[in-house]
């Protein structure tokens, strides 16, 4: 099993979710995160005081999938999240040793 982690633009979350559902992915975990890569931050002004905001809001998705599906899922995320502009995000894949479904105790691929 693999853990696919994707950090993408927040407004692309719907597209990514839909294309993963179409692939038969059963679940995912999503969190709002802040980060920066090559995309520059921005400035904000409150009552005349300027603030440099280096971190940009992103959405982080975590999806555990069967080994066979990992590439397909990764490509789907890349396709759905891409705009071609700087700041589109990153996807990386990690090996997963074990997965357990809390309710039933099922293990491995059955727990996905």
């Amino acid at each position: 099993m693999k853990l696919v982690v994707a950090v993408v633009k927040p407004f692309k979350l719907d597209d990514v979710k839909e294309s993963l559902k179409a692939l038969g992915v059963h679940g995912m975990t999503v969190s709002e995160v802040q980060g920066f890569g090559r995309q520059r931050g921005h400035t904000e002004v409150y009552r005349g005081a300027e603030y440099e905001v280096e971190f940009v809001p992103k959405v982080r998705l975590e999806i555990v999938v069967d080994d066979a599906q990992a590439d397909e899922v990764t490509n789907a995320v890349v396709d759905a999240a891409g705009t071609g502009k700087i700041g589109d995000g990153k996807v990386w894949i990690l090996p997963v040793e074990e997965v357990v479904r809390v309710r039933t105790g099922e293990r491995g691929a059955d727990a996905l």
């Binding site: 400035t43 904000e44 002004v45 409150y46 009552r47 005349g48 005081a49 300027e50 603030y51």
Partner: protein
């Protein structure tokens, strides 16, 4: 005709229910400007770690002035008798005398309570109005003046927040209210020296806003700056809540300026309209300046709030005495001056050396100063606070025609303000300037003395850095947005925390049953 039999009546003949209704209503509007208006505005434009501290100081400050005002303070500002006897039983006895004697004998009222039945319910008597008897009881006048007294220290909380000790604040507020606010209120409003000389302040451009700005600035100087990290990361926590607070301030100002004629008449109505005109003009001016001339060239919302406050503060000393056109000028001029000061003067000493956290010296101090001066320019003699006509023996208006009201008849001259733009005379401008210099001097001096005194008694008026690094949690044990999932009750308190489910009669409940979905299709 026989006199009617004596029976139950709701009020005596000197009381006018319309005037009394408006006075209490206007006072409540002004009270809402503090709680929740200003409390919410300030608490939402500080970082999360300071919001609770601001709220706690706001509510405690309001309560402290409330008690101080009714136990002794009201009569310092509006009592019928001054120290030295210049004002006696609500009558100014030394008009035109001149010199230091008149100044000293008409400096402050003798303190005393407004707590007795007659004290609350008897007809208001104060040299704050020597032209027509008050049409409402002392309770109405005292409560109306209380909400002004209360908001003033709350305004300059914006200068000192983020480091002042809670206890220092709780001592400063009643002391400041007594020795600064009470004195200035008597001198300009309570029939004291400057009122007798002809200096005017419709609703507090000097007594409230400029005084708050100057006092906050001096107090911030004595206190020293916030932590460096706080100064570098002082982001607002919620702009939507800032809008709620700001909106309550604006519309609450209808009571602030609309209540100050003391009669629910044309002057009140004119003051309300002028207040709103100046505010809209001020708001739009700041937005335009931000959009066109600021470095970012963006119409910032908090800039709009600043402009709104400049308009409100600028029109406050003028409200019922300028016409609508004058009101727009006042809003625009005050806003331009404050915008320039905010962006440029702030880089020059002493402004660059004092950490006035929310910039109260600009939006209240400078706007109030110039608003008061502009009254001397745009005061329109035809905007009447009082016209001429007939009063019956109880002081109620009878049989007064519109023509009588608006034009001089016999010994009565309708009361309006002679501004430079309408009369060519700079006399009023000079009277305004004198009073402004006094208020700046007195507010700065007494605030400095009080802060030094508190510093000595409390062994410092600011928290240690370890406390300032944490903020609300260290000072109050509370957070603005606590996370219930990460915390578990460990101690006693209301709400039966330690009791079992069964002993509370809730044993049969299965809280984790799934919520049924799709019902009722």
């Amino acid at each position: 005709m026989l006199a009617a039999a004596v029976t139950y009546v709701p009020y005596p003949s000197w009381l006018n229910p319309g005037d009394n209704t408006w006075q209490i209503t206007a006072a409540t509007f002004v009270g809402l400007m503090s709680l929740p208006g200003l409390a919410v505005l300030y608490a939402s434009i500080v970082p999360k770690k300071w919001a609770v501290n601001v709220l706690a100081m706001m509510f405690a400050g309001f309560s402290l002035v409330m008690i101080a005002w009714f136990v002794w303070g009201y009569k310092i500002g509006f009592g019928a008798n001054s120290f030295g006897g210049g004002v006696k039983d609500g009558v100014q006895t030394q008009l035109g005398r001149g010199g230091w004697t008149q100044f000293i004998d008409n400096f402050a009222g003798k303190p005393g309570p407004v707590l007795s039945p007659q004290g609350e319910q008897g007809q208001a008597v104060s040299a704050a109005n020597t032209i027509i008897p008050f049409h409402f009881p002392t309770a109405s006048l005292a409560y109306f003046q209380l909400v002004f007294a209360a908001i003033t220290p709350l305004l300059f909380l914006g200068s000192v927040l983020g480091r002042i000790k809670f206890l220092a604040w709780c001592l400063l507020v009643p002391l400041w209210s007594t020795f600064v606010y009470g004195v200035d209120a008597f001198l300009l409003w309570g029939g004291g020296y400057f009122a007798q000389e002809g200096s005017l302040d419709f609703s507090g451009g000097y007594v409230i806003h400029m005084s708050a700005g100057v006092s906050g600035f001096v107090a911030a100087w004595v206190l020293g700056p916030r932590l460096l990290r706080d100064r570098q990361h002082f982001l607002p926590n919620n702009l939507v809540m800032a809008a709620v607070g700001a909106g309550i301030l604006w519309l609450g100002w209808n009571g602030f300026n609309g209540g100050d004629p003391y009669y629910a008449g044309s002057s009140a109505a004119g003051a309300v309209v002028n207040t709103n005109l100046a505010t809209a003009a001020g708001l739009l001016t700041w937005v335009a300046l931000d959009a066109w001339l600021s470095k970012e060239k963006k119409p910032a919302f908090l800039g709009a709030v600043n402009g709104m406050i400049c308009g409100l503060v600028g029109i406050t000393p003028c409200a019922g005495w300028v016409n609508g056109q004058g009101a727009i000028y006042v809003g625009v001029i005050c806003c331009v001056i404050v915008w320039v000061a905010w962006n440029f003067l702030s880089k020059v000493p002493p402004f660059s050396k004092v950490d006035d956290a929310l910039g109260v010296i600009y939006t209240h101090g400078i706007a109030g100063f110039f608003g008061g001066l502009l009254l001397g320019i745009f005061g329109d003699p035809n905007m009447l606070e009082y016209g001429c006509g007939h009063l019956d023996s109880a002081g109620q208006v009878v049989a007064t025609t519109a023509t009588q009201y608006a034009t001089a008849k016999g010994t009565c001259v309708p009361f309006g303000v002679d501004g430079l733009a309408y009369t060519g005379s700079a006399h009023q401008l000079w009277e305004q300037f004198r009073a402004a210099i006094w208020v700046i001097f007195w507010s700065a001096l007494v605030t400095f003395i009080l802060m030094q005194l508190l510093k000595l008694v409390l062994r410092g008026v600011r928290y240690k850095d370890e406390i300032l690094e944490v903020g609300d949690l260290a000072i109050h044990g509370e957070e603005m947005l606590p996370e219930d999932g990460f915390s578990t009750r460990i101690g006693a308190g209301v709400g039966a925390a330690g009791m079992s489910e069964a002993s509370l009669g809730g044993g049969g409940r299965e809280p984790d049953d799934p919520v049924p979905t799709g019902a009722g299709t």
